[in-house]
Symmetry: D2
Subunit: 335 residues, 4 copies
């Protein structure tokens, strides 16, 4: 059952994201008590967490570090063969870093950097989560009980990365990992690719690349966890406010992606989104939607304009022209 022009998907989905935090204990509090995720493992200076609806053992890894930012971004392949194919395709670019033995709950992974220097890996073997007795759900098709603690995020959704050269990274994900392009923000009469949203599945986007206006490398704009309803996002806003967590923007609705967003900073400094809405892309011949300066506006369908910090702040935080980020996150510049 194979042949030309099938919809071949070698990458199944975003598997997990590692977030670096200089306030390790406070960040754990944020993800566990405020977002309501479950801690499933700890090793070295890292803890592993999960949303109640994640089928994998863990989807977020928190690691103590000197500065906030994103650590390793993990993609799950659809099969052992798909893993090998992607490793080979990436290796050809010179961006490969080689095989690792795999992180908690997983088999071996192939590690690499995207052209902007973000650390990534691809793996296939994954331990499905088996809930301990006290966390078993009343629903047989739910991996874990919905405990109702805090926001109660359901599952990992997507992340947005900054890049000096959006097009180069976008092409890398398309050509080497088989991602499909969904939407783009292109300014200056089609010449400046400001942002691109891509996915390996019908989910609207699992990764976005957005222009790093400060010229940094390897930086994180935000990481998003999913909730099922817009009301959950509204409720999250009140919970975050009561807990004194900074809300940068939302709840409100983007025009591109139609995502219903709430952006906060976790104590370590990383921007975290509580996310719902958006739309699924079913068309095999989807034509990417492009937005110019006027159409894009501030990226908001309705709701207050996004603040300036949303355009400027990312982790690790740098000043314009600052070399700080290149020290913290090894940068790769493809020749």
């Amino acid at each position: 059952m194979t042949g030309p022009s099938s919809l071949i998907q070698d990458v199944a989905h975003l598997g997990s994201v590692e977030l670096l935090t200089p306030r390790f204990t406070d960040s754990q509090w944020y993800f566990r008590d405020v977002l309501g995720m479950e801690v499933v493992h700890a090793a070295g200076s890292s803890v592993y967490l999960r949303g109640y609806g994640d089928y994998a053992a863990s989807t977020v890894k928190l690691t103590e570090a000197k500065a906030p930012g994103v650590g390793c971004i993990s993609w799950r392949a659809v099969s052992p063969e798909a893993l090998e194919r992607r490793a080979a395709a990436i290796g050809e670019t010179g961006l490969g870093l080689g095989w690792s033995e795999g992180d908690f709950g997983r088999g071996k992974s192939y590690r690499f950097r995207d052209p902007d220097g973000h650390l990534m890996e691809i793996y296939y073997e994954e331990t499905k989560y088996r809930a301990p007795e006290h966390l078993k759900s009343a629903l047989k098709n739910l991996p874990m009980k919905y405990t109702g603690r805090g926001v109660g995020v359901r599952r990992i959704d997507h992340l947005a990365l900054l890049a000096r050269d959006v097009a180069a990274n976008r092409r890398f994900m398309q050509e080497r990992l088989g991602f499909r392009l969904r939407e783009q923000v292109i300014f200056d009469q089609g010449k400046a690719e400001i942002g691109s949203w891509l996915s390996a599945s019908p989910v609207h986007h699992q990764v976005a690349y957005v222009k790093d206006v400060k010229g940094g490398h390897g930086r994180l704009h935000h990481f998003a966890m999913w909730v099922d309803n817009r009301e959950d996002v509204l409720r999250a806003a009140s919970l975050l406010s009561e807990q004194g967590v900074f809300i940068e923007a939302g709840p409100s609705m983007h025009n591109n992606s139609q995502g219903f967003y709430l952006y906060t900073y976790e104590p370590g400094g990383n921007r975290v989104e509580v996310y719902s809405g958006s739309y699924l892309v079913f068309a095999p011949d989807w034509e990417p939607v492009t937005w110019n300066e006027k159409e894009r506006g501030t990226g908001v369908y309705w709701g207050g304009a996004l603040p300036q910090s949303f355009l400027e702040y990312a982790t690790p935080d740098i000043s314009i022209g600052d070399a700080a980020s290149t020290e913290k996150v090894p940068v790769f510049d493809p020749a």
Copy 2:
């Protein structure tokens, strides 16, 4: 970028469903004014409608008929080659009916019956919807304005078919169309396959086969349109009540599929669901969830028990042992 063990998907999604109705005018009122769909075309004794979020020109076809039921169920292939492959694979079973020139807005289709006799087709060429000026959305990534009329269903979602032999039809969809099995209801210590839920994409299910307790053939249990929020389903219940449309069950939540449902009968007699919730399946190695008699209960997670009619009524309506359905819907019995 192809090879063994890729996640190959030849069927992209459920393209459209044709519903037969003996009350043609009233059924149009239901889909247009109550559910809020848009009429885009009429030909012969059929009208074509769409949800505001459907990318295709049309996703529901209403056809005047002596009795209610389902007409042609259309699946979109991911490419011309995928279409040819599926046609060949189906042809081998003897269930093929041959090529048609294609319905409104589409290129040629290969028509066939599933083992239970439901009429289906697969096609690739599809005219994307281009909204007339007065229906253009303020959102560039939305095919059509959200008019707010009636329930305002967003897009086609799934359908549930009755069958004498659930296993035979389930295997046909898996083996000939590449659907993946998501959940099953299996009674009698694993011996009686009562229902199976399948999908060709990460959407939980796009088709379900359920045991026809009256022994009919080619019958429809229900057809479902999607809304984005559970609140839209609650609002739909009030709108339907105000319009005097019969509500059979819900709004409430299933245990299997986790779907948030509202079942009504359109004036022609077909059961129509306003649907939200459920969950996406991302795991490439998903293990189907099975429910036995005790686990399944009445299929409800919470909310009132489903009424007896939900188990017994389908379209066309027949008495037990009645040959009526075989007269209205030509039946195919694979040898």
Copy 3:
């Protein structure tokens, strides 16, 4: 600023309800961990709880007892003078029990029984809740932090009592306490008053009297806590299911009252409702809405029919003709 035909309101609102429970520890778990109420005080075999939006120190009192049921139902008067006036008016009926020194956080109360024997009191002095530091809300107009624990009920709303003679109790609340009649269920061509919903404020109803089909006395049908959104009720259904708490009916919508309901049994056996929706009554010349057998149906606007237990079960639970309840709750039959 007083005179004839003013809208005089001597009773401000339902102040608190005491629930009796034979499973004291489990009932505390239910109200604290599942509904998310805050324990503010304990004395003897009672604990006192509050919703995060209640302005009073406490609105629910749980008391250990041999059988479930309702203890004292407390109404707050609008002033010291109003309290005296109501005490005098009640005293005239012979139903008065005399003055008490007042329960936790309150000044003196006048205790009495309604004609069916339910224990009630009216008081004026009330200690406003002052949250300890860790429970202070970020909102200056919210008495306590919204902690997000469990269902997160906001405030006390209403209760429904069974009575042998609905009309007698309804008249008592109208004539002696100044309640206004909102809706009624009257069967048998206007001769049988099955249920009456009354309120002392624009809130639709703060008490309902419903016919005790088993002929008991002093029994409780249900007690309701308010949440702000229908989504909160849906979320409650999932939380209760995950915690193994029995859901008897809902989430769904009543026809009379337009209330959006979810009925559960707390571990002690009392029926507790998580409630939202309904409507406010602003008209000073409101005409009570009456429902006959046909109009009333099962009391549901949409959603599954209410189960038989909803009509038959109450606390304390008795068999038809059983004298048990009269032993547990001293009965008063006004001559």
Copy 4:
């Protein structure tokens, strides 16, 4: 059943608001097709509309005028005697204008101006709405069918007026009409009363007075219609966006009042709010909540900051020091 210290309420609720519009046809479209109100009457250069849940015949009156702004604000008394009492109390201030024969669907009214010059009236006799056959609701306790057209606002809620002297107007409503003070924004160490929220019923506020920063007279800040759920407000934002109606702020949540707001400008220029949430005030001894500069912030609990226009724009629109408003709305300055 009367005496000292009863909670005496002579004003029942906000009965209706007349809005002046220079774009009469477009404003009708906005209220009828976008907000979904029902036109029930037309006379002269005015049309009368209602929300589906309003018990009165009409709650909004649109009147053609040269400039936008508020016309007559109508309060319903609780009885004929209450009407006479209020008329007398107002008459004593010299702000009375005398009796009118009453507007559509009402008996006689006593007209007056508040100290800032806004035209008001109080009346008692009110024709209850009786829906024509095609608008009868399936719910016996709902005055009119929920048609689902547009936003579907349920009922009139409140309005906010600008005033040169907030304290003078606030005292007038308290002393002459019996309103109770709920919240206040007081700057400059308690010396500058910036805003006051008042109500005659447990509804949080039915009128607000806010400082007119441009020094005008008789101007309208906004008028609000109620919807039952926050989701209705979110849905309204999409509907308004699709219809090209300007959204000034929201959907989001205020800190004072806890109101969930969405502010738009109707085509005539008046600011209209689609509103839900907030809280009811039950305490007879409510202590008004005050907010200083720091506590108040921009008046937002969460969500984007309110734009400058929210503080500066009102109808009729004037420049600072402009005498325009005093020409259009006769101004009254109490000595």
